[in-house]
């Protein structure tokens, strides 16, 4: 399942890069095949697991399963994976109709893509549930293995989330607008905090985000090595190599803050903890990304290592490449500290709410044993 989960996120990042570089695709591009194979592996293996547990499972297997419609039995994660595979399959005809009705998506976030993304994320959540159940059940000898497997599965999910929001929050140009902090303020903590709470590692949030960074960096550096040219018009930016996803967000630093605060206050009142974590998350995100955005727009970042200033073949290059986008402005259209701070206030409140929900989910996740 962890393998399928990895295939999905690698396939997705590859596919987005393909759309930004080559453009022309089909059902059978390698990136698509990777995603489809992952969905099939997840669906079939979990389907087999459920059938085996229901009809031929030993007492122990049946004991660590949950019932579905009073008859079928299987691990909780398997059910979620099967559901995810079915969501992915359902999204295909819906997406096809959407393309015929409204044109091929120029955006990542469209209704059928959200159905697909939930399907993919369900497979990843299924993998997480299987890993966390194993972690929560296991004795001393396998503890470390399961703890890391769980953190890895969680890292994949975080990678997926950051990929889904990349249109609004990814490149340096986004990082001076409150929208960036609003989106990253709730989407990532909504999952990360709970995932961290259920982990038994010493630095759970740090480890999970480190895995996200490693996967993203590996993809970013690898994709750039491959020569590719656009195959669709109009070509305003004749790229020669695969255009990678931008440098990963530095969420590992707020994650360190989360780990430190969870150690100190993790067992107290969750409402207070949520307020504290929400504030700390948004505060540390601003403190880092405000300057990190400036660096990414500077010539020092325009290289293989940081991969900044790489745009799709269909982008008309212009001064916007080196400008901050969507800045918070006043009525006269000038940048306004007040409206930026107002945006950060919204980000902090949303982050606190997301964190509170995540802590609740995390408490449940920490007890999953089936």
């Amino acid at each position: 399942m962890v393998f399928a989960s990895t295939c999905i996120v690698v396939g997705l990042i590859w596919d987005i890069s393909w759309h930004r570089t080559v453009g022309r695709d089909s059902f059978w591009t390698l990136a698509h095949v990777l995603e489809q194979v992952a969905a099939v592996i997840a669906g079939l293996s979990c389907g087999w697991l459920v059938l085996h547990t229901t009809f031929a499972g030993g007492a122990e297997e049946r004991a660590r399963s949950v019932r579905f419609w009073r008859f079928f039995r299987g691990p909780l994660g398997a059910w979620v994976c099967i559901w995810g595979t079915m969501m992915m399959i359902t999204s295909a005809p819906f997406d096809n109709w959407w393309h015929n009705a409204y044109g091929l998506d120029v955006k990542i976030i469209s209704p059928p893509h959200i159905v697909l993304a939930w399907g993919m994320m369900a497979i990843q959540i299924g993998a997480i549930l299987m890993a966390v159940a194993a972690q929560n059940r296991s004795g001393a000898e396998n503890q470390q293995l399961y703890r890391f497997m769980y953190a890895y599965a969680a890292g994949i999910l975080i990678t997926m989330l950051v990929t889904v929001i990349q249109d609004e929050a990814s490149v340096g140009n986004h990082m001076h607008a409150s929208k960036f902090y609003i989106i990253t303020g709730w989407v990532i903590p909504l999952f990360l905090i709970g995932l961290a709470r259920a982990s038994r590692l010493k630095w759970p949030a740090t480890t999970i985000t480190a895995i996200y960074m490693m996967i993203s960096l590996a993809m970013m550096w690898t994709l750039q090595l491959f020569e590719a040219t656009p195959m669709l018009a109009p070509i305003y930016n004749p790229v020669t190599h695969m255009v990678p996803a931008p440098f990963p967000l530095l969420i590992i630093i707020p994650a360190v803050a989360v780990d430190l605060l969870m150690r100190r206050f993790g067992r107290g009142n969750d409402w207070k903890l949520a307020a504290l974590l929400g504030l700390a998350w948004v505060g540390s995100m601003v403190a880092i990304h405000w300057f990190w955005g400036e660096f990414l727009l500077s010539p020092a970042a325009r290289n293989f290592f940081f991969a900044a200033d790489q745009w799709s073949y269909s982008d008309r290059l212009g001064p916007w490449r080196y400008q901050f986008w969507g800045l918070d402005t006043d009525a006269a259209g000038k940048w306004s500290m007040l409206s930026f701070l107002r945006g950060l206030g919204i980000a902090a409140v949303l982050s606190m709410i997301a964190t509170r929900m995540s802590l609740l989910l995390g408490s449940g996740l920490a007890r999953v044993k089936r």
Partner: protein, 517 residues
């Protein structure tokens, strides 16, 4: 035409020849989105049809009928007018089974507006290419097929029930140590969680449906609509004139960058004349279509287009104005106007190529023209079917039945106008098809610096008139127009040729059957 010149001459000469051909005609349309082109690709004769996708990005289907010996390969590629940095690799068109000489290829069109499809032919006679301008816009909204809708709703409901069940199972048993049975408290908690999840899913679905609706509204709002126009008949003394005004605020405010930005509108490129005429206007009387005029109004501001009103019987007229933008984008603005009474006495026409026709249509396939010569509709098939290639061929013979000598009319052997009786289809055709040759010229002449509005148009205006070659007139005096009627219904086809300095018009009613009949 220009392709044969291109094969012989240097690149520069080929460009000039391309321009020469390009200045000859122009056309646009209402409700007839496919582009047709008939002409040369080097040594090969080609008839090209581009079925536009209807949504963007979408797939256009290109069909190329190639005549000439030893054709080895036909390739096609699409590009947008302003993408001069690079072009994608061409796609091989595959021969259509059972129809020798016909090649087809699907082409992705990623960006709306003025696009082109370049067709390359390679064979034993050498290589040749031609550029077909194609206007690609979102012009239709697809409804959900009931079967697909029901299937998706069914699967969706199953998935939602599945999700609620999984959440229930997770709360009921997921956190219990293996083997332990859930107690009543757990069961109750599970039911509460399921109810909560169902409510949350319902909320999410509501949000999703609003999102979908807003995307649909935005799509519908952004669908292509031609610039709005108004028309009026004005009297000065005894003289009457028709004024067609492009009243769309996007056009009137086109120079106001701040207004465009505020209203999130992109700027239309300026108009370019087509064979010296900034607009080709047509008047068709409603609903009988028994009166018709082809005019060439003049303008000083590209907003108001004025033409002397020729003698036309009274009635309500639909007015169409074909214009070409510097980007190569062609469009037909349309409106209606009432003509109160026929003008008395001779009318000083605005343009010597203006012509009217107000006689009954041909009763059969033969029409007697004003000078006594005869135009015969040479039907290849007994019926016309929507979407099928309709061979519109007309032979002009003198009183003795011999091919009549015809002269170029606005640089062409003939012109045809096709209109459906409800006004939902209108297109101006030439023997070279529906495509605008002015637009073809804009594609041929465009250079990197032409992103500045008006620069290309100025160069086109400065062209030496010696470049404006007139194609040879057909010796058999037969004019033909490549076309396919877009939908079933009752149409009129007006055909115009020139003899002895006079424009002669004939009208033919045409019934087009539905594809399924």
């Amino acid at each position: 035409m220009h392709g044969s010149a291109a094969a012989r001459a240097s690149r520069k000469l080929a460009r000039a020849a391309g321009v020469a051909a390009a200045l000859i005609v122009c056309s646009a349309h209402v409700g007839s989105p496919d582009a047709w082109y008939e002409g040369s690709a080097g040594p090969y004769h080609v008839v090209i049809q581009v079925e536009t996708p209807g949504v963007v990005p979408g797939i256009a289907n290109v069909f190329a009928r190639v005549t000439g010996a030893g054709v080895q390969q036909v390739t096609v590629l699409a590009n947008r007018f302003d993408a001069l940095a690079a072009a994608p690799p061409p796609e091989a068109a595959t021969p259509v089974e059972g129809d020798p000489g016909l090649y087809s290829a699907p082409l992705w069109i990623m960006s709306s507006g003025s696009n082109s499809v370049t067709v390359n032919v390679v064979g034993t006679l050498g290589a040749g290419k031609t550029v077909v301008p194609v206007v690609v816009v979102a012009d239709r909204r697809l409804g959900m097929n009931p079967k697909l809708g029901a299937g998706l709703a069914g699967v969706g409901l199953f998935l939602l029930l599945g999700l609620v069940t999984i959440i229930g199972a997770a709360v009921r048993e997921g956190v219990l140590p293996p083997g332990e049975q859930p107690d009543d408290r757990r069961r109750w908690k599970a039911r509460t969680a399921m109810a909560g999840a169902a409510a949350a899913i319902a909320l999410a679905l509501l949000g999703g449906s609003r999102w979908w609706k807003s995307e649909d509204t935005r799509f519908t709002r952004n669908m292509y609509k031609p610039l709005t126009a108004t028309a009026a008949i004005e009297s000065t003394g005894n003289a009457k004139s028709l004024t067609l005004m492009i009243s769309d605020s996007i056009w009137i405010m086109r120079h106001d960058t701040a207004w465009l930005r505020k209203n999130n509108k992109s700027r239309w490129t300026p108009l370019i004349p087509d064979h010296g005429k900034i607009m080709h206007a047509f008047m068709v009387r409603e609903p009988d279509m028994l009166a018709f005029a082809h005019l060439h109004p003049a303008t000083s501001d590209s907003v108001r287009f004025r033409s002397a009103l020729p003698p036309l019987p009274p009635g309500r007229y639909r007015v169409y104005g074909d214009i070409v933008h510097e980007s190569g984008f062609t469009q037909t603005v349309s409106t209606a106007v009432d003509v109160a009474q026929r003008s008395d006495g001779p009318v000083a026409l605005t343009d010597p190529d203006d012509a009217t026709f107000a006689s009954p249509p041909a009763a059969g396939d033969k029409a007697i023209l004003a000078d006594g010569s005869v135009m015969t509709f040479q039907r290849v098939s007994s019926r016309f079917v929507e979407g099928r290639s309709a061979s519109l061929r007309f032979a002009i013979t003198d009183a003795n039945g011999n091919p009549a000598a015809i002269e170029p009319y606005i640089g062409m052997p003939g012109h045809a106008v096709v209109a459906r009786d409800d006004g939902s289809v209108f297109v101006h055709l030439h023997p070279s098809g529906t495509v605008s040759m002015a637009s073809q010229m804009a594609f041929t002449m465009r250079e990197p610096g032409d992103s500045i509005a008006g620069r290309l148009g100025k160069r086109m205006n400065q062209m030496d008139s010696s470049h404006f070659a007139v194609p040879p007139m057909p010796a058999d005096a037969v004019v033909s127009f490549p076309y396919a009627f877009p939908k079933p219904g009752n149409y009129f086809v007006w055909v115009q040729v020139k003899r002895s300095g006079s424009v002669l018009t004939a009208a033919f009613p045409v019934k087009v059957d539905a594809l399924t009949q």
